[in-house]
Amino acid sequence: MLAKLRFNNVVGKKIVMAITGLAMCIFLVGHLVGNLLLIWGKDKFNAYGSFLISLPIVPIIELGLLAILLFHVWDALVLLKGNYEARPIPYHSKTWGRTKSKKSKKTWASTFMMTSGIIILLFIVFHVWHFKYHNPVASRPVGDGHNSSIVLFPGQPTVGQTTSGQNSGKEAFDLAQLVVNELSNPIVAGIYILCMITLALHLYHAVSSAFTSLGANHPRYQKGLMWFGNIFTFVVCGGFTLIPLLIVLKVVQ
């Protein structure tokens, strides 16, 4: 009578939303650490990029991330439809319960989760097209099409490389230069910064909400989880904002 895994209802779907959302948060940490190498040095960033591409597991991880993203988006849309249908006749006037009691945690962030989510989804599509598939929008293509004149791994081999291996001395794409060229344009940098603010808005509600959906909301550690969510949001989104900001301010060139 009772089916095996019951994720196909309002509680189960929120659990899926929470798991996929937190998984993407873990990805964000890795992505941020990698990207911050750009501030340290362009060669460091390019070396990291080439190292990632050389790993055979990366395409599998990418597919996994895509699946996680699609689950998150699909469940959000199904839940949105259900929520929309759950109140077919709207109120004549409706105010936030916050006006009555401070116990409500409703914020603009939690109110516009779907809007911020859609903006982030569009940003992800643009961002992947922009930098993963090297499509400059505001500057000339870097180097000769997809290959730059900069040679990575000159001289001694790095981790994962062998002197006689095919990668030694191979021309690699200068992603760092593309990123710097693109984000030097104030409009492109502005788009990236605005999208990071949108992400911050999303995460401000999402991280602590995900823990609640997973069942981790208890008087003993509820405050701690709220703080964790806020600090995580600040560090991750602040870190990502730093990159276009420093480039457009010509600190990183």
Partner: protein, 259 residues
């Protein structure tokens, strides 16, 4: 004005009330004047006065649900100026007093809005969806025969406190009315929690949460966005931690249930 220290004078109010003659009627907001309202009246008493006037003028009185008027039965409940049960914290509409309003205020009064709560008449909605959620699993198995010894089963004090806090839910439906998604998560979770926390509820623990969540889903309530609007308007101050407990119970059940 030293004689009337701390008291207000009688008020004149403008009411904007949802009128709907039945399930098939489209319904509309109608304006009423409530004059000479004492600040010591309860909100429902104010509606009584308005209804007396309507009846005297040969009209159909505003239908609203009420029973105990002591804030413990869960019958009353309307949206007052866009907030379930009105502006006072931890208060049902019947325990809300007119001193919370000012002379000349316009008060908007609407029924709970949810697909699962069809309007029967005016401000009265059909909340039997909540009964069906309880019937799906909000029960325990008890042996027939003599009443068991009251202290035969040891229950930690904190456990019993938490269970009693959850059991305080009167099923008024304010949480659903206030929720932007019309989610019944707070109601259902309170009903799950108050049995799951006690040893008496243990035999059905896994089945209960699966069945009650399935019923909540079948009644077409929305999903929980963890905003806590429900907790803010609950007249019994049921906490959001119940929702987390329900999610925990649900995860435990889908991982541990054998069926």
């Amino acid at each position: 004005m030293s004689a009337s220290n701390g008291t207000k004078k009688n008020m004149n109010l403008k009411l904007l009330v949802w009128r709907q003659s039945g399930g098939k009627d489209k319904g509309k907001m109608t304006t009423y004047q409530a004059n000479d309202i004492s600040p010591d009246m309860s909100f429902l008493e104010m509606l009584d006065v308005v209804n007396e006037n309507i009846i005297r003028d040969g009209g159909e009185p505003i239908a609203f649900e009420h029973d105990c008027r002591e804030g413990i039965c869960g019958s009353c409940g309307v949206m007052i100026n866009g907030v379930a049960h009105g502006p006072d914290e931890g208060t049902a509409a019947c325990q809300l007093h007119m001193r919370s309003f000012n002379d000349g205020d316009e008060i908007v009064i609407e029924p709970w809005r949810a697909r699962a709560f069809p309007v029967i008449r005016d401000l009265v909605v059909d909340r039997s969806a909540l009964d069906r959620i309880i019937a799906a699993g909000g029960y325990i198995s008890v042996n027939t025969g003599n009443a068991p010894d009251g202290n035969a089963i040891p229950i930690p004090k904190e456990m019993s406190n938490d269970a009693m806090d959850s059991a305080a839910c009167i099923g008024c439906g304010a949480c659903i009315a206030q929720c932007k998604n019309a989610s019944a998560a707070l109601f259902t979770s309170a009903k799950i929690a108050h049995l799951a926390l006690l040893p008496q509820g243990d035999p059905e623990r896994g089945e209960r949460v699966i069945r009650m969540v399935a019923q909540m889903d079948a009644e077409k309530f929305g999903s929980c966005s963890n905003e806590g609007e429900c907790e803010a308007v609950c007249p019994k101050e049921i906490q959001m931690t119940n929702i987390s407990l329900m999610n925990r119970e649900y995860e435990r059940a889908i991982l541990a249930n054998k069926k």
